[in-house]
Symmetry: C2
């Protein structure tokens, strides 16, 4: 009943970390029980001890994705409204090695999510939540007169579309799109909408 000689949650976290590492390196196509065990330096028995099967592993990986997206070390919003929106966008982009890994996994998850009804629904919900966060900043910016009035949901869709599309291009051409260039593109984008 009571915990044994190892901390269960801590070990489970270790497995999570190994999953993360495998995904960042080989994508969802390379995610196997044995690969995770190897990255962890253990047997597959340990992996199955903490995750019942591969499906649970994948589902958990997507959960980590959302948690890390929400809790990643990010810039605090310097001010509400437009500045907050800009920060939210920069916090998504692959501006640091960690953010590159996260986005690589995020983008890779789309293939499996599009093929599995459960994951599909979960992913759809995730996007809704992200857009809700953007909408809040957009409405605040509109209240402050920093953005013209209009459907904040539609604008959030546009902002998220631009941001995620930029993520993909940055992942495939990091030399052409270093952090500074990405930031500049975000500023140009926002400038076009603030008039």
């Amino acid at each position: 009943m009571t915990p044994a000689r190892t901390d269960h949650d801590s070990r489970r976290q270790d497995v999570s970390e190994a999953v993360w590492q495998v995904l960042a390196e080989h994508g969802f196509g390379g995610l196997t029980m044995r690969a995770v065990a190897a990255a962890l330096g253990s047997s597959t028995g340990l992996v199955t001890h903490y995750f019942a099967g591969k499906r649970e592993l994948i589902a958990h990986a997507l959960d980590i994705l959302e948690v890390r997206t929400a809790q990643r070390p990010r810039q605090a919003a310097p001010a509400p409204g437009l500045a907050a929106l800009r920060t939210q966008m920069l916090n998504i982009l692959p501006l640091t090695p960690d953010a590159v890994a996260m986005n690589r996994i995020w983008v890779g998850s789309w293939d499996v999510a599009l093929s599995d009804p459960d994951l599909f629904a979960a992913q759809t919900l995730r996007y809704e939540r992200v857009r809700a966060g953007l909408s809040a900043s957009i409405e605040e910016a509109q209240r402050l007169g920093e953005l013209p009035d209009g459907d904040s949901g539609r604008l959030a869709t546009t902002v998220l579309a631009f941001t995620h599309g930029l993520v993909v291009q940055a992942l495939f051409d990091p030399d052409r799109l270093p952090a500074a260039t990405q930031t500049r593109l975000v500023d140009d984008f926002l400038a076009a909408f603030t008039r």
Copy 2:
């Protein structure tokens, strides 16, 4: 010298079609020799007869992707410049069932492409070519005074980012983003940059 009781290229096309079908339904994670053979109603031997292995199969699938993107039944540009750019964007978006399938494959390909150096390089090149096409319309629009002057390459990156990001959201939430809504978002997007 060159016997042919069946048209080699034609049969190869049939295999391509089967690959396409499997990808649209199960993604790259579900692309197997046997699945392709089953979709074709043949043996795996036939598949390997036309494509040396799975790697060639994937590489060819990505080629089809680009060819179909370029040659798909699309709206002709009603006019050069901004109108052409708008048409190019609409031609990418999943506005029809066929376009949905194509984009589903396109998005799914990112996971494998990010994990394989060869495919990665090929994909990077493909994006460059797509951006070049957009840049041409952008420069024409600038010449016509429809768009403000500025780095056409950077603007092309922004346009492609927005378009591809919208593709992803539309795939995951087709009810919220029907064709009319996508078109509207494109028009709003362009309006913000034309001022």
